[in-house]
Symmetry: C2
Subunit: 161 residues, 2 copies
Amino acid sequence: MSNQYNILGIDPGTHRLGWAVVTGSTQHPQLLKSGCLDLPPRTSSSSYLPTIYQELKTIISTYHPTVAGIEKLFAQHNQKTVISVAESRGVVLLTLAEAGIPVFEYSPNTIKSTVAGTGASTKIEVERMVRLLLNLGNAKLLDDTFDALAIALTVQILKKL
Amino acid sequence: MSNQYNILGIDPGTHRLGWAVVTGSTQHPQLLKSGCLDLPPRTSSSSYLPTIYQELKTIISTYHPTVAGIEKLFAQHNQKTVISVAESRGVVLLTLAEAGIPVFEYSPNTIKSTVAGTGASTKIEVERMVRLLLNLGNAKLLDDTFDALAIALTVQILKKL
């Protein structure tokens, strides 16, 4: 069991942060735990940035991820929120760096094609594959959590963990 | 002296972070200390984000700023670097929030017009006014430090500190 990896997938937003820890192997991926930090819409950055920092430290100390995955962010997308999402992302990268956890970054297309076969896959198709791969049945999960699961699975598959 | 403010101006980049602490009053502004964190260009974010976090904590514990100022960042500007600059900015905002320091944010135009009289002022004109206001003479300072000084002076003037 010494070469078992706990892979932390993170989907950072400002007031929402989806996360998931996947373990097992590419052949038998297993969901260890997932969740979504969800803060009231009017929470200021002086409040949500420290919350993200503390919550992520707790997740790390609880589930001991060995590697992490996060989606690449592009300036072209969603100009209204890209600055504040990147600020949250900076706090996430700081927390992972302080814990010495290597981070892999993938574009949305790479994540979709790795999990669901093609970069043109819809959100629904990615969700269906995530459910299948992890035996989630009809479990209710938030979109942000599915995104975090898809990123964790992408790391597991592409890094052959 | 109990109502004397130490104003921390910060100009965050990825591998460079200019900072300055201004004190005194709007009538008699004084430079307490300034500096510029300067990291090798190829330093990775897993290294420079923790460095920014630690350096800023040291600056805060050394110079006890009561308020801070930072330039507003716009997605339209410099699409190549805006994501990574915003990530650094997120770490700066986290550090200030954890220290309980209120942050004021101003657009580049507001900073230029407050310090040098008009939003159309050039970099040279802003630098000349910063030198005059703080009695800097011909002291050699980096551009990033001048930007941090201009932000600190903007907070001092607009908040009447």
